[in-house]
């Protein structure tokens, strides 16, 4: 038992083999061993194979710390987020870390408030760890870091966050996604399409509203009233749905700025005895499974492709680290509409 505990708990008595051990076992110099393992240099296949076999036999794991010291690369990235809740960050992080894993780079996660002092601590740690690059993310596309990034001497990429002038950033293409969602409604024959969404202060709300207007205009339709801006909550959707019905003429579809609002709307209609999608079709935004799958009926909604965003950001960062120029600017990445049952179309 004591043995078992110490085996599980400590590194004591565990001696990793080094490249010297491999070289000795294969009867070559350390230089040759290094080259054989890294696939560099020219050497006979036999030698290379012999070194590889020795490494396998010794269960050799190169020490990337030592390698990093000489190559001046740590093969690590830092990911900063203030989304403690994880709604946006975890999908981004998962996409990022899995794309990076294939390339041998690991990512440090630092989750905390974007408050100057703790940010300074975090950035200091990232500098000391010599991360090769930084990705900064958050929970809204119009907020970035509250401090100016000191000159860190490392490339930085922004994802789902506001970026300073000249930086590289990745955000979902809110406008086109909204346009596609509304086109879906139009194609289904809906003509009186209302819009209920988040606060005017959010850029995402404005972009989605613009998409709504644009899709209506191209279809020759008038907006059904003004967009109803308020909080991103179910309560807003619920209240807005009631207001819409109380106002008299009934829309035949509603494009909602997020899934929570859509949820509130659907709940309100259920209580009023209004049928979705027969009487009114509903589209959401976010494809937040736990909401989109739980509404009755399940919600047709926009998926922002967050893992893809994380992945793209990581790949761009890798290019920058390798010294390849990456054009600065905001990349608006396409979203996809996930069709369920709330609009009456055949689900995907």
């Amino acid at each position: 038992m004591a043995d078992r505990v110490s085996k599980l708990q400590s590194a004591s008595a565990y001696q990793r083999s080094t490249i010297r051990d491999v070289a000795a076992k294969a009867n070559v110099s350390v230089t040759t061993a290094s080259r054989a393992l890294n696939g560099t240099g020219r050497m006979s296949d036999e030698t290379r194979e012999r070194v590889r076999a020795a490494a396998a036999e010794l269960d050799y794991r190169p020490n990337s710390i030592a390698r990093g010291l000489v190559q001046q690369r740590s093969f690590t990235l830092g990911l900063l987020t203030n989304d403690m809740y994880g709604r946006f960050t975890l999908p981004v992080a998962a996409g990022l870390s899995s794309a990076m894993a294939d390339r041998g780079v690991s990512v440090f996660l630092s989750a905390g408030e974007y408050e100057p002092d703790s940010l300074k601590l975090t950035l200091g740690a990232m500098e000391e760890k010599r991360v090769d690059g930084l990705v900064i993310t958050g929970k809204r596309i119009d907020r970035g870091l509250p401090i100016e990034l000191p000159s860190l001497g490392m490339p930085v990429v922004y994802v789902y966050a506001a970026a300073p002038e000249g930086a590289v950033s990745f955000v979902p293409d809110d406008t086109n996604a909204a346009r596609d969602a509304v086109r879906h409604l139009v194609n289904l024959g809906r003509k009186k399409i209302a819009h209920i969404t988040g606060p005017r202060a959010f850029k995402a709300a404005n972009l989605r509203e613009a998409g709504w207007r644009s899709a209506l205009a191209e279809a020759g339709l008038e907006p059904f009233g003004e967009a109803m801006f308020s909080t991103w909550t179910e309560a807003h959707g619920y209240a807005a749905a009631h207001a819409l019905i109380a106002a008299g003429e009934r829309p035949d579809a509603i494009f909602c700025g997020n899934d929570q609002i859509a949820r509130g709307v659907i709940d309100a209609f259920a209580l009023m005895g209004i049928s979705v999608p027969d009487d009114i079709a509903i589209v959401g935004f976010d494809n937040w499974e736990v909401f989109a799958a739980a509404t009755r009926p399940p919600l047709t909604t926009v998926d922002m492709g967050l893992p893809g965003l994380g992945r793209s950001a990581g790949l761009a960062l890798l290019d920058m680290i390798d010294g390849e120029p990456v054009a600065p600017g905001i990349r608006e990445t396409p979203c996809t509409l996930v069709v369920r049952e709330s609009c009456g179309a055949k689900p995907d």
Copy 2:
């Protein structure tokens, strides 16, 4: 513009100062500079101060890679999760990373399916990076890794996941949390307390049911029917609420196994015209803000204290890394009841 881009993008022309620069500037040896900065060794305050001033002036950042190489410590931890969704993982990760940040250690996040091949890739990366320890987390307390962990030569801690015999693990104290939740109902004068929860196959569901029974027993009350096991979904809560009412005698309270179920229950009662909490009090489990705050009325529910779990796990891991023995076993960590309005008590 080209300047600005290159400044933001690359490390070119950015030369970090090393401890040699600091030593030179302070007119001391590298040895003394190292000791001054690390607060080790004895030396005059004047010397130490001079070195620190030099470091500050040069904006010196110790290279933790170099330090790690000699100290055989990387000051990093790995966090493995298969909770892509982030529901449990991000709070754990946030608690862990912030507790670790104070101690100069950073944490690698690896999020992906717990599938043997990708797991092997991830573990390999962690080994090459020479992480000092590993924390393994997941989305249910009775599932761990699908493979046996190879002998990694590093300490491992489990959080919100099943752990092998002899390992150190941290989970919420589901039983006592459930007991507290039900006691709350009892103290409010409720006597007919039903239980609607997740699948029997989940350990968490069984523990919470046991807590429910135990609290009732100590109050001299009979369980109101059998616990209703099924999926952790709103749909289950919704259907179970209907079943309960259809069965005739009405409970005066329901302890729900999670917030989604509670949500379904509350929605069902709203449609049936049954008032919460006047007719029936409801308690949930998870304190998942987006549900707990959105129900009408807001939900009284159990908070598992996930950030604290992450923090405790990190601290235990640090002890193990330092060679201090940590008793193996499962640590059941206290939860707290967050009182809102669904039971009729005065909110916190």
